[in-house]
């Protein structure tokens, strides 16, 4: 209990002092995760919707794959992305290893399946209600997909947020491809891992508390948007 209360004190101290290092780490975390979520949503939402609405050979296999990839260990993703981006790997010439861009790529790989799989379920459920009506109105399949994505936007927000949660919480992938380089690729989770390793449990826990608080704030905002939308539409 003592450890935790000390960590709280430390966390509050770090926040109130607006510690420059802390700000740098937090802002990099948010930048990397938000960019990943944005890209993963741009890929995952249409992908999920397409898997829900279009029939093509191998779709079943693809859906199984997608759902299995939801639980992909970050370290495995990190390793694969590392091997791709490493100077000796196929994309080595880009020189992206140990940069925030590499971390974004890894996190995007990690969360696109989550967003796509959840979006697929949402769109499938909505399609049961809407499909006949939209078809009767004269919508073609691509238009139906667009309409359903827009109609379910508040539910999809939850899927996107699940992806964001995973992105901010994971450490394995960004550690391998980012390298946890101070002032360059150090984010909250890798900093926490580092401080734990150094045995500075207090600072690690303080960083953890800050991470939890940020995620609480964001969750609250998203849930409020959702609830307001739900009340408005039902």
């Amino acid at each position: 209990m003592n450890d935790i209360s000390q960590a709280f004190a430390k966390a509050i101290q770090l926040i109130t002092q607006l510690d420059a290092n802390l700000l740098e780490i937090v802002s990099l975390s948010m930048r990397v995760s938000l960019t990943s979520v944005l890209i993963a949503s741009l890929i995952g939402l249409p992908l999920g919707a397409a898997l829900a609405l279009y029939k093509f050979p191998g779709r079943g296999f693809f859906v199984v794959l997608l759902n299995a990839f939801m639980g992909l260990p970050p370290v495995v993703v990190g390793l694969i992305v590392y091997l791709m981006l490493s100077r000796s790997g196929p994309l080595g010439v880009l020189g992206l290893l140990f940069t925030p861009t590499a971390m974004i790529i890894a996190q995007t790989c990690l969360i696109t399946p989550i967003i796509a799989a959840l979006a697929r379920q949402t769109i499938m459920d909505a399609n049961v209600e809407y499909h006949e009506q939209l078809r009767a109105l004269g919508a073609k399949s691509f238009r139906i997909m667009k309409t359903l994505l827009w109609e379910t936007k508040y539910s999809l927000l939850t899927s996107v947020f699940a992806g964001f949660g995973r992105a901010t919480a994971e450490v394995g992938a960004v550690l391998i491809v980012g390298g946890n380089i101070n002032h360059a690729t150090r984010v909250m989770t890798t900093a926490i891992a580092l401080e734990t390793r150094k045995g500075d449990i207090e600072l690690a826990l303080a960083l953890g508390i800050i991470l939890i608080v940020i995620s609480l704030i964001l969750t609250t905002i998203v849930m409020n948007i959702r609830d307001a939308a739900y009340k408005y539409y039902n």
Partner: protein, 281 residues
């Protein structure tokens, strides 16, 4: 259509923002071991080097095994590692060039205050390990192919113990960094071999204390190696060479000697001298 172009622009801005930050300055990438990084030595040295040359050094702190692999694959520009045998092999295989001694520090054996194997007053390292083996008291190994791990395996073999067959019993392979291994040793009331720097900066000690130190076999030589530019033409050889030169120059050596933690000097510069004495035990 408008909506789509807005999204595309947003993505581009995000991407350029991120890459802009990544390329803000001249830098080289150094793979080093967690022990050097965790001690704070590099945080102390790099600003001095940057002030002099304008070149920043980005440190990827991993175990010696992975540090060497990063060098082999051309993912870093130079290495600062501490396992002579692997380093020599690395250079022989053509992955690295211009290996130089930089400094040494030493390992210590830490363990629970009660010292169940009673190693506190033994004369040398081998005897201490034999006592731990005889009593089968818990011992936590890095188990991660790091320089410290390699060193520890060498010591066990010198003590005549085939340590692998006890793995999972009293001998625990953590597969973790030094700090994490110390955390585990603390929880398990176990012995472990650690570099002095990590030990001094390690805060979560509880019942762990330093039990054995100052024996030549425990000395730990650090070397700097440049990644072979013939193998990886993209690496920043010239800048990396500057750092290597600086580390081994009198200025760099003095900075290393000045660095201390809790009043103790952690690293002893030895680029100039013939270090045969400490090498040959």
């Amino acid at each position: 259509m408008n909506r789509i172009s807005t999204i595309v622009i947003a993505v581009l801005i995000c991407m350029s923002f991120n890459s802009a930050c990544a390329n803000e300055q001249d830098f080289i990438t150094l793979s080093s071991t967690t022990s050097t990084d965790n001690s704070g030595l590099l945080d102390y040295l790099i600003p001095k080097f940057k002030e002099k040359t304008g070149i920043n050094v980005r440190v990827v702190a991993v175990g010696t095994g992975r540090a060497l692999l990063l060098g082999e694959r051309g993912d870093v520009d130079l290495l600062l590692v501490h396992h002579k045998t692997s380093e020599t092999k690395f250079v022989e295989n053509g992955f690295g060039i211009e290996r130089r001694n930089v400094m040494y520090n030493d390992y210590v054996i830490v363990g629970p205050k009660q010292d169940p194997a009673n190693i506190k007053n033994v004369k040398n390292t081998i005897e201490a390990l034999k006592l731990i083996y005889d009593q089968a008291t818990p011992f936590v190994s890095r188990g991660d192919d790091s320089g410290t791990h390699k060193k520890e395996l060498e010591l066990w073999s010198q003590a005549g113990v085939d340590i692998q067959q006890y793995s999972g019993t009293w001998y625990r392979e953590a597969g973790a960094s030094m700090g994490a291994t110390l955390n585990i040793a603390n929880e398990m009331s176990a012995y472990t071999l650690t570099d002095r720097g990590t030990w001094l900066s390690f805060k979560n000690r509880d019942d762990l204390i330093l039990l054995f130190e100052n024996d030549p076999p425990l000395f730990n030589q650090y070397g700097v190696i440049l990644v072979n530019p013939e193998r990886h033409p993209h690496i920043k050889y010239n800048e990396a060479k500057l750092f290597s030169n600086w580390l081994t120059s009198s200025e760099g050596q003095q900075a290393i000697a000045e660095f201390s933690l809790q009043g103790q000097q952690l690293f002893f510069p030895n680029s100039g001298q013939n270090i045969a004495a400490s090498e040959a035990k």
